[in-house]
């Protein structure tokens, strides 16, 4: 991960559901230096929540000894988020990305996680290796600051 001249932060924490809120709030606080709108902050909090929940439920199968990694980077008005687990990985990534598809219907999942991430962010990239883990890389331009750079 190149940091270039931009700002960045790294976070790692136990794969426990009580840390989902901590992860959202931390990323939101880091990004607040770009002066985002309420809507942009909500989008970012939602995608962090989706990605971290996936790491916990799917990556680690609710095993709290797993570790979730978040890397956030700011380059001018663009936020890059990389959210990773070293868990089981995804066998069929195209199927996983289908709206309403869930590999765990018994848990009453809505199957909307990836759809939400793709919709709320400008760029979305999923890398996964069975047995090696899953990494989601997403970018979003923060519009409220954009005016200043143009």
């Amino acid at each position: 991960m190149s940091e270039k001249s931009g700002n960045f932060m790294n976070l790692q924490f136990a794969a426990k559901s009580e840390n989902e809120s901590f992860a959202r709030v931390t990323v939101a606080a880091f990004v607040s230096q770009l002066d985002p709108t309420m809507e942009e902050i909500t989008d970012l909090k939602t995608v962090v929540s989706e990605a971290v929940t996936n790491c916990i439920i799917h990556g680690y199968d609710n095993d709290p000894s797993g570790i979730v990694y978040i890397h956030a980077e700011i380059e001018l008005d663009v936020v890059t988020l990389v959210i990773e687990d070293k868990g089981r990985g995804i066998e069929d990534m195209e199927l996983a990305k289908q709206p309403l598809y869930t590999s765990k219907p018994e848990l009453e999942r809505s199957g909307m996680g990836f759809t939400i991430m793709e919709n709320f962010m400008d760029e979305f990239e999923l890398v996964s290796e069975v047995g090696g883990g899953t990494s989601i890389r997403m970018k979003k331009r923060i519009e409220s600051k954009k005016a200043l750079y143009n």
Partner: protein, 117 residues
Amino acid sequence: MNLHLEMEQRRDTLIVRLQGELDHHTADSVRLQLDEEIARGRCKDLIFSLKSLQFMDSSGLGVILGRYKLIKQKGGRMAICDVNPPVYRLFEMSGLFKIMPVFDDEGAALSELEVAL
């Protein structure tokens, strides 16, 4: 816990007010409390009143859709009211409004459910 749940029974309708953040962590307890109340058989219809719900993600959608299935199976109806903009967007994206009505406030939701009886 950063989610507060309040229930109020009005005739056959259970009004569920959610306050705080509905995510994967808080979803389980909401699901348990609601299913326990629904299993008591005192209510037929259900209204989710979401004025003070500040955050929701797809885990929250799962809870709402799950209760919709349950209520529908028992022949009841479900409505949502008082939705703030961020939660509204999520509902819109998921197509939830295609299967259940949304109202401005609890009064409007209640009178609609009663009229439609």
